[in-house]
């Protein structure tokens, strides 16, 4: 099946969890398309199924029903090896809590996906990725020696290093102060401008206003889906913000 520039196509995607005797219907049939180059926010109250959807799209979990095509490939029925390969080559994850390995320095953290790759990537790929997030000079620092915003940028570099089809971010600014969060959004907007497809799960409508399209989820179903009218540009927001260190005044 040709995907005609549509990176993600889902059809009636369902996910049930068995929690003891009760079945939790976390997703009750989600059909959504995401095109190449889009930057989409997924919003919704806590427990509405945002993370569940992201996990399905990120190939870390299999749906209980429905179909999911990633770049035209039906992922819903793939086995563990094939799914792992999908995650490795097509998906870049960014988490709320960064999830870097504390004992590895920035460059080695970024290199991690290469260890599981079937293809050779250039030796300098990790450094290139760090350069894209503006942290080339911190390559040999450990996560504990970096600020939260810097750690999140390293995590983005790790997500980029395999040149994936789509970036999936779950509350990427949730653990950051407003300025560091804005800097992360700046990185995302830049990557998006370069053509990267990005999906961001967030509670924060300010973050959502940085994207081009907002999908609302409620109780495992999509309730609304529409373009952002007055898109915020991170460069401008940052310019209007007080300088670092002046914030406490």
């Amino acid at each position: 099946m040709s995907h005609d520039g549509r990176v993600v196509v889902t059809e009636d995607l369902k996910k049930d969890y068995l929690a003891g005797a009760v079945t939790v219907h976390a997703l009750r049939g989600v059909s959504v398309d995401i095109d190449q180059g889009e930057m989409v926010a997924i919003m919704g109250p806590s427990g509405s199924g945002k993370t569940t959807l992201l996990n399905l799209l990120g190939c870390v979990d299999r749906p209980s029903g429905g179909h999911y095509w990633l770049e035209g490939e039906d992922v819903s029925q793939m086995g563990d090896r094939a799914l792992s390969r999908m995650r490795n080559e097509k998906i870049g994850f960014v988490f709320q809590t960064f999830n870097l390995l504390p004992r590895l320095n920035a460059a080695d953290n970024v290199r991690l996906p290469l260890l599981y790759s079937y293809h050779r990537r250039p030796r300098q790929a990790p450094l290139e990725a760090l350069k894209r997030v503006g942290l080339a000079d911190r390559a040999h620092h450990r996560p504990s020696q970096l600020s939260g915003g810097e750690q999140q940028r390293v995590a983005i570099a790790r997500a980029l290093v395999m040149q994936p089809t789509i970036l999936l971010a779950d509350e990427p600014t949730g653990n950051l102060d407003s300025r560091s969060g804005e800097e992360i959004m700046l990185v995302f907007q830049r990557l998006n401008r370069e053509g990267m497809t990005i999906l961001i799960v967030t509670h924060d409508s300010n973050v959502a206003q940085h994207t081009s399209r907002i999908v609302h989820v409620f109780d495992g179903q999509i309730t609304s889906d529409g373009p952002v009218e007055r898109r915020l540009l991170a460069e401008e927001v940052l310019r209007s913000m007080p300088k670092r260190g002046a914030e406490s005044e």
Binding site: V60, D80, R85, R87, R103, L115
Partner: protein
């Protein structure tokens, strides 16, 4: 994932928790060390037994005089009053054609003096073939020859220790020794034989203090040394003394040992059987001799060795199982502690198989390093044992290779379950847990 990077991850994981890693390895270290130590003690003992028995010769049969007691002794008075005799040796030589050599030996009493000084020694009468069957060499002069035996010559061959105490390492041949009240001319010196220290499989006397004279001269000039129980009643005692003082023809004189050489180890059992039957007839059914086969001793010591090996193997496997369970325990704890890491690796593209392989390899790295440390410890233990207990130990390359393989197998066997557990961790659940 490439094997090499998984191994590197394993090593860096070990280095990050040095104390924990060492504790994890302890069981394997001691298990392997005891394997090495025990194998090398076993190998040393085997080697020693072999060497000691080889000194006796594996193609010979020893027939030794045996003293009888009680009713048997009384019966022997009638039917075989002399016990083992020179005549027995002559008969064996004459009628048992498969015997390559028959060498009679008799120990005699007699104080040995050189330059008026007493010399501690043991005097044996024997024949020209003795050095061949006893595997001894001459360093100086010559051994007794047939002519000496025939002419009952007063010549002697001395052990190296005698030369040292009596002649202070000067040239000994041509000098004289006084044995009893007879003068004997030294015609040769035996090569020194060092007895390896350690546990004796067979008792070997210190032959460096031996003096050899022609058996004819021995029987002619001295009372024969007869290891016989002293009879309890006075009358029999008198009879014994009288008999020892008697001067019957040479064939009737008692001797202490006959050494039979057959030339082939496989024929020794047959030779022992034939000799036993002949002696049984000659001694009218009185078994006042014993037939010993050094090759049989070798077989017995190998059997003992087998038992030792089984016990050793059991101890080693128990300590390795205990060590392995320790590793499994700590690996299981590690797997839960590293759930987040596992989740991260899964998210960036590791399959369940990749995770399982990584943990299995880490286990293998632990047990291999533990194995190497155990080998080092075991070699050192073997060295200390030979130093203090004077046991010979042999550390063979084979034993080292074997223990390394055993260590790695332990790693795989006991790493399997933790590895499977690690592979089963759901990545997103692991990442959600704070």
């Amino acid at each position: 994932m490439k094997i090499w990077s998984a191994i590197l991850t394993g090593i860096s994981e070990l280095m990050a928790h040095k104390l924990r890693s060492l504790l994890t390895m302890l069981g394997v270290i001691f298990g392997i060390a005891s394997v090495i130590a025990m194998v090398s003690i076993g190998a040393g003992a085997r080697q020693e037994a072999l060497e000691q028995i080889r000194l006796l010769g594996v193609d010979v049969v020893h027939i030794n005089r045996k003293s009888l007691t009680g009713d048997l002794a009384l019966k022997a008075q009638q039917d075989s009053p002399q016990g083992l005799t020179y005549g027995d040796a002559l008969a064996l030589k004459k009628f048992y054609s498969s015997a390559q050599r028959v060498v009679p030996v008799c120990r005699v009493f007699g104080e040995v003096r050189a330059r008026g000084q007493g010399v501690p020694s043991k005097v044996f009468g024997t024949t020209a073939d003795y050095p061949i069957v006893a595997r001894l060499d001459i360093t100086e002069g010559r051994f007794i020859d047939e002519h000496d035996v025939e002419s009952r010559a007063h010549v002697c061959v001395i052990g190296s220790e005698i030369k040292r105490t009596a002649f202070f390492l000067e040239n000994a041949t041509g000098r004289t020794l006084k044995i009893g009240n007879q003068e004997f001319v030294v015609i040769g010196v035996m090569e020194e034989r060092s007895l390896a220290g350690g546990r004796k499989v067979v008792s070997l006397r210190d032959i460096n203090e031996d003096i050899y004279i022609p058996i004819t001269a021995a029987m002619d000039e001295f009372q024969i040394y007869v290891e016989q129980a002293i009879p309890s009643d006075y009358r029999t005692f008198r009879q014994l003394l009288a008999r020892l003082r008697e001067r019957p023809p040479l064939e009737k004189r008692p001797i202490t040992q006959i050494i039979l050489q057959v030339g082939d180890q496989r024929e020794t059992w047959e030779a022992a059987r034939v000799a036993s039957r002949m002696l049984e007839q000659r001694h009218k059914g009185i078994v006042d001799y014993e037939v010993a086969i050094p090759a049989e001793l070798l077989r017995q010591s190998q059997q003992t060795q087998r038992i030792f090996n089984i016990v050793m193997g059991a101890i080693a496997s128990i300590s390795l199982v205990v060590g392995g369970i320790g590793i499994m325990n700590i690996m299981l704890a590690t797997v839960s502690a590293r759930a987040r890491e596992i989740g991260i690796r899964r998210c960036v593209g590791a399959s369940r198989a990749d995770i399982a392989r990584q943990f299995l390899l880490e286990c293998l790295v632990i047990t291999s390093i533990g194995g190497l440390l155990g080998i080092a410890l075991g070699v050192e233990m073997a060295r200390l044992i030979s130093g203090y207990a004077k046991w010979r130990t042999i550390v063979s390359g084979q034993a080292i290779l074997l223990s390394l393989i055993v260590a790695m197998t332990t790693g795989i066997v006991f790493g399997l379950y933790p590895a499977v557990r690690a592979a089963k961790i759901e990545p997103m659940e692991a990442l959600r847990a704070e």
